[in-house]
């Protein structure tokens, strides 16, 4: 096997957190999650080295260097010009065979694994340095031809005007190679959010799962009343299930990354959208993520309709829970000197009936 540093592509499971200089932060993070046992959508990364090889093999590197030098000190006006030149060069260049073969070999394998020809994937930029939101991510890319085209677009997005200005301000060089992540698009039959606490009252012993049909947007942006599953964090028993109305679902428009709303069948609306096994597995994964990071988490997930349980449970995004974790834990019980006084106090209180 070739040295990792010289590889053009790496599967997520071949990477971990330390590999961010090779594949970028987003990709390395996914590798790290897999290592921790957190199920993410299968896929692979184009290394930063691959981006560099592309620029070298196409001769773009040399062209840019000469052209940019002639621009002199970059100002807003010249940045716009430099961006146009660089992006045009990258997007119109032929993909070198060395790179194309490697990418397509991996893509074919991904299609095979998902039992899905021309499997839809995402093409996600992944820089070794954080540049929040400045580079592009393309969703629902199908087939070899589009994949190659969008990889170029993704690379070129590192040269949009804002990105160039940002780097200039930070004193970073003009040339900037990024990693690209190519995960299978989760064909979300159901998606939603896991809280590793009860978000209503901050109870740490519960895991709360909101879920509805289709893409996560419906739940995240409150377009539907999702099912709510309250699961015991210790025993994974389902404690409470409130079936939501789930009238609509968000789906991709056929062959595009536009999201459209469609109506959900009457029968499906009144039925719980997650099976007991799926609920248990989501709770298990939620608990695992909380244990891994050592605090309460807020997690986006999808249930992939192309895959079979338990491989269909996919974690899309994780972030620390921000409401209850910041509050100090107020006692919920009264202080008592001993068990006997506690019993007396309990007997005196009884159980309210109305």
């Amino acid at each position: 096997m070739e040295e990792k540093e010289k590889r053009l592509t790496l599967w997520y499971e071949e990477t971990d957190g330390k590999d961010f200089p090779l594949v970028g932060k987003k990709n390395a993070n996914l590798g790290e999650m897999i290592k921790a046992g957190i199920p993410v959508s299968p896929g692979f990364a184009l290394t930063i080295h691959a981006n560099n090889r592309f620029l070298e093999l196409t001769g773009i590197k040399g062209t840019i260097e000469t052209q940019i030098e002639t621009l002199g000190h970059v100002t807003f006006d010249t940045a716009k010009h430099a961006s146009a030149i660089a992006m045009e060069l990258i997007e119109s260049a032929e993909m070198p065979a060395l790179l194309e073969d490697d990418i397509l070999e991996n893509y074919d394998r991904l299609c095979e694994m998902s039992q899905c020809p021309s499997c839809p994937v995402a093409v996600r930029s992944s820089g070794a340095v954080s540049m929040p939101g400045q580079m592009e991510t393309y969703l629902n890319i199908c087939g070899e031809k589009d994949l190659i085209a969008y990889i170029r677009k993704c690379w070129s997005s590192a040269y949009n005007t804002e990105a160039i200005m940002y780097r200039m301000n930070k004193g970073m060089p003009f040339l900037f190679n990024i990693g690209v992540g190519i995960p299978k698009m989760v064909n979300s039959r159901v998606s939603g959010i896991i809280f590793t606490i009860n978000p209503i009252n901050g109870d740490m012993s519960k895991i709360s799962i909101d879920a509805s049909y289709g893409l996560g947007e419906a739940v995240v942006s409150g377009l539907v009343t999702p099912d709510t599953y309250l699961v015991d964090k210790v025993t994974f028993e389902l404690i409470k299930l409130v079936v939501g109305s789930k009238e609509i679902q968000c789906v991709y428009r056929e062959g595009s990354s536009d999201i459209v709303e469609t109506s959900v069948d009457e029968e499906k609306r009144v039925t719980r959208c997650l099976s007991p096994e799926e609920v248990k597995e989501l709770a298990r994964v939620g608990k695992l993520i909380e244990g891994y990071y050592g605090k309460a988490y807020d997690i986006e997930f999808g249930i992939d309709g192309d895959m079979e349980f338990p491989h269909n449970v996919i974690i899309l995004q994780v972030r620390p829970e921000s409401v209850w974790s910041k509050k100090e834990a107020a006692p919920r019980t009264e202080r008592k000197p001993d068990a006997m006084s506690r019993i007396v106090s309990q007997l005196m209180t009884g159980v309210r009936l109305r």
Partner: protein, 614 residues
């Protein structure tokens, strides 16, 4: 929605049961003769004790209801001085027992009881282990005395020994005395039954509520898992069966057991071979006392024990042998259950963020764990061992009366007499015997019994409303909370009235054990039908008893009419990993054997997917 239930005085008599009141003690009736008592009755909540009594009461069987009415109440009211709670009042309506927790009326009186309770209950909690050891000795003495009691027909002539030893008393007198002693033993046993139980439940309620404050909505089943002992005694009979089954396999007796023989014939076969004899001697050791396990709750005389019908344990042994030969693991992994209990408690403890809450959790859990083994184990001593023996002794009394012509069939008839009436019948029998004349009984009791059987049948066809009277704001009586699970939500459900579900294919119960399963239903109304259970069926029953455990290796899930997440069926099914729905109310009536049903142990829903072909 209504805020109160039907007034208890307004429940109509079922046509054709007029005069039913004479089957039960007079004080059990709701009555308007005393305005004060009548007003009290109307102001209380009375709920039907379906947990203990899924069927109407036989006049004799009411003995245990009276026994617990006396014992439970006295420990709250007069012994431990539970501050806010007096006893539980009992009434009977159309054959069904209704009970009502009684509170201490004024805050001043409640406050006065606090130091008394702390002193008295405190003494028990502090000396729990020693007092409990002493309890076991007392119970063993009661059981030995019961075992030694027998009833036989009076002799034609007293034995010559009575003359020679100058005994100076007769067999008639002895029978009257023995009957009183038998009844008194029963009452004594129930005095012992509640010596610890009120305090055990108080500890349990405290733990449940403390944990619920810290972890809102934590399921009772999980709380039980954390605090419970292992119901060691109640599972012992099943463990005995498993070791007998393993012994049968290792001794090469499978072929003998494979023969379609009744227990008696099978034992005769085993007697013929040396290894069979050895097995029988092991069986004998297991039978006493473990086969006194009742096939029901032990509350009714119809709940016979394994010792009363050996075919039941023998069928279970057959099932076990098959499972063993198929390489299945059978039995209860006690050790891993204990580990699981500690893991769960530790994990919850780890999730507590406040120091005060952690201290509260520790206090409450420690006292619950101290008290709970009693709450579980006493059932084997009393409801199983004692009751099974006791019903047998009453059958002996019945046999004597049957032989004297007082009834046609002792096994089915004696229960239609109140215990005082049996005493009267024995008087009739003994005085007639002493005098050398014909007793009146044979012309009197058979008619009474026939009439009462008719009434009982009508009672059976009636559905008792879940509650009567006026709900209070707060319930403080520990039993009412723990055993019957009476909470605001439950009352609301009752007030909302019975579901108009007769046409629907869905039945709502409570989650008992997690999981969803589909299968053919097998509705079992009595334990004798257990043998009909087929592999993979879903058991549908009024309730289940620990003695049913051997069948659980066969079934795919269970549905019961009665019980909450703490009930036996739920506990066992969780251990066997079987989806279970409990407390459906009418599962056995709505579901028919052969129906294809789906049960969801997480939501408590049962769906009838396809009716059996008629």
């Amino acid at each position: 929605m209504a805020t109160r239930f039907m007034d208890p005085h307004d429940v109509p008599t079922i046509p054709g049961t007029e005069g039913w009141e004479t089957m039960y003690p007079y004080q059990y009736q709701f009555s308007k003769d005393d305005p004060e008592r009548s007003a009290f009755e109307s102001s209380q909540i009375w709920f039907y004790d379906g947990l203990h009594y899924p069927e109407p009461h036989y006049p004799f069987d009411l003995i245990w209801d009276e026994a617990w009415s006396l014992a439970l109440s006295q420990y709250n009211t007069r012994h431990f001085m539970v501050p806010p709670a007096l006893g539980i009042a009992h009434r009977i309506v159309n054959g069904y027992v209704y009970i009502s927790p009684v509170g201490v009326p004024t805050m001043e009186e409640i406050e006065k009881r606090v130091p008394l309770f702390v002193e008295r209950a405190g003494y028990y909690y502090e000396n729990w282990d020693r007092l409990y050891e002493n309890w076991k000795k007392k119970m063993t003495a009661v059981l030995e005395q019961l075992e030694a009691t027998t009833f036989t027909d009076l002799p034609e002539m007293e034995d010559i020994r009575i003359i020679r030893d100058g005994v100076g008393k007769g067999s008639g007198y002895e029978m009257l005395k023995k009957y009183d002693e038998l009844i008194n033993l029963g009452l004594l046993c129930w005095q012992h039954h509640f010596e610890f139980l009120n305090l055990a439940y108080a500890a349990q309620v405290t733990f449940f509520n403390t944990a619920d404050q810290i972890f809102p909505g934590i399921p009772i089943s999980t709380l039980v898992k954390m605090s419970a002992g292992m119901e060691a005694l109640l599972f012992r009979p099943d463990a005995e069966l498993i070791s007998l089954s393993k012994l049968a396999v290792s001794a090469g007796l499978e072929d003998v057991f494979a023969k379609p023989l009744k227990a008696e014939q099978l034992m005769a076969e085993l007697e013929k071979i040396p290894v069979g004899k050895e097995w029988l001697s092991q069986l004998h050791k297991s039978r006493y006392p473990w086969f006194y396990i009742s096939t029901g709750t032990g509350w009714y005389h119809t709940h016979i024990s394994w010792n009363d019908n050996l075919n039941i344990p023998f069928d279970a042994i057959r099932t076990n042998i098959k499972a063993l030969k198929a390489g299945k693991e059978i039995g209860r992994p006690t050790e891993s259950l204990l580990k699981e209990r500690d893991r769960i408690a530790e994990e919850y403890r780890g999730l507590i963020r406040s120091d005060d809450d952690r201290a509260a959790f520790d206090q409450a859990l420690s006292v619950a764990r101290l008290a709970l083994p009693y709450a579980e184990d006493h059932t084997f001593y009393v409801e199983h061992w004692f009751h099974s023996l006791f019903w047998g002794k009453i059958r002996q009394v019945g046999k004597v009366l049957e032989n004297a012509g007082f009834m046609e069939n002792a096994d089915t008839d004696i229960w239609y007499l109140k215990r005082d009436e049996i005493k009267q019948a024995i008087w009739d029998y003994t005085t007639a015997w002493a005098t050398g004349i014909k007793p009146r009984g044979p012309s009197y009791w058979p008619k009474q019994i026939a009439r009462r059987k008719e009434i009982y049948q009508k009672f059976k066809e009636w559905t008792p409303p879940p509650a009567l009277g006026t709900p209070p704001e707060v319930v403080t009586e520990p039993f009412t909370i723990v055993m019957w699970g009476v909470t605001g939500d439950v009352l609301k459900g009752w007030l909302a009235g019975p579901e108009e579900g007769e046409v629907s294919n869905e039945i709502q119960g409570s989650p008992g054990s997690s999981g969803v399963v589909e299968g053919k239903a097998r509705v079992l109304m009595s334990v004798e039908e257990l043998a009909d259970l087929q592999e993979g069926e879903i058991l549908v029953a009024r309730t289940t008893s620990p003695s049913w455990a051997p069948s659980f290796v066969k079934i795919a899930g269970a549905v019961t009419d009665v019980g909450g997440p703490m009930c036996h069926a739920a506990i066992v099914c969780r251990e066997y990993g079987l989806p279970t729905v409990v407390g459906t109310g009418k599962g056995t009536q709505r579901i028919k054997t052969g129906d294809l049903i789906r049960i969801d142990g997480d939501t408590g829903k049962v769906v009838i997917l396809e009716r059996a072909k008629a």
